[in-house]
Symmetry: C2
Subunit: 120 residues, 2 copies
DNA sequence: ATGGCTGTATTATGGCACTGATGCACCCCA
DNA sequence: TGGGGTGCATCAGTGCCATAATACAGCCAT
């Protein structure tokens, strides 16, 4: 039988959002440490097979949030405390918006988080 | 600070997908018991403030999966065993595709499912 | 100072998903 | 045999996304 939730998240999630999530994860994980320079829009675009403008759109949100600092003509740098602020913000959103839905969904499916902790 | 995941889960989730999830939940929960007729596309559209076609698109997937039976000119009916098949299928997808991502995401955020079981 | 790297602004274009309005085919019941 | 209820097909419109081609402004090492 065909699956029912081919995409509970989003199948056709916009590229610039995927990039944003990926970069955010990299910052939190320390792949791009504080003070380090992010890959240039052109470099990351080439690496990811995307358009430089699309990468710029992903970067845009980070400077809006003050997580990266732009030095025109030089590059974009991860500000101090960015990783922690990012993680705190994500955690906040996760607990408030995502986790309740996940819980009720699991309940409906007859699953219990306690049981799944062991598995993975 | 602006949040990071304005739509990590579903901000702009298409209406027809929201409806599909909602209907699937209703079937699993027995709101629409086996053998019962689903609300007509027009009725549900009016109730949800959506377009009849959008509702039809949501229903479409259920007939593709053989979970509902169509009687032209009459209505759509929930087939026998639909709830259980639906729940099994959803559970399969959840465990295989969603849960791993949730786990790694929680790990990145410094969260542990075991701790959150108590909260909610 | 010049070439090469940064990010950024502008404009245009194609594609695709979502939504909407209308009309048709079908079935049941009075 | 009508009338009102089904689902369904077609066509059109709208908006977002992604791409593209340029061009500009700033910085730096050679």
């Amino acid at each position: 039988m065909a699956l029912m939730h081919p995409m509970s998240a989003h199948p056709n999630r916009p590229v610039y959002l995927k990039l944003r999530d990926q970069i955010a994860a990299a910052i939190i994980d320390g792949v791009y440490p504080e003070g380090a320079m992010l890959p240039s829009v052109r470099a990351l675009a080439a690496e990811q097979g995307a358009n430089p403008l699309t990468v710029a759109k992903a970067y845009q949100q980070f400077q809006n949030d003050g997580l990266v600092e732009v030095q025109r003509g030089v590059g974009m740098y991860v500000v101090r405390g960015a990783a922690e602020r990012l993680r705190a913000a994500e955690r906040e959103v996760f607990l408030r918006e995502e986790w309740p839905e996940i819980r009720s969904r699991m309940a409906r499916l007859g699953l219990d988080p306690a049981d799944l902790v062991i598995i993975s």
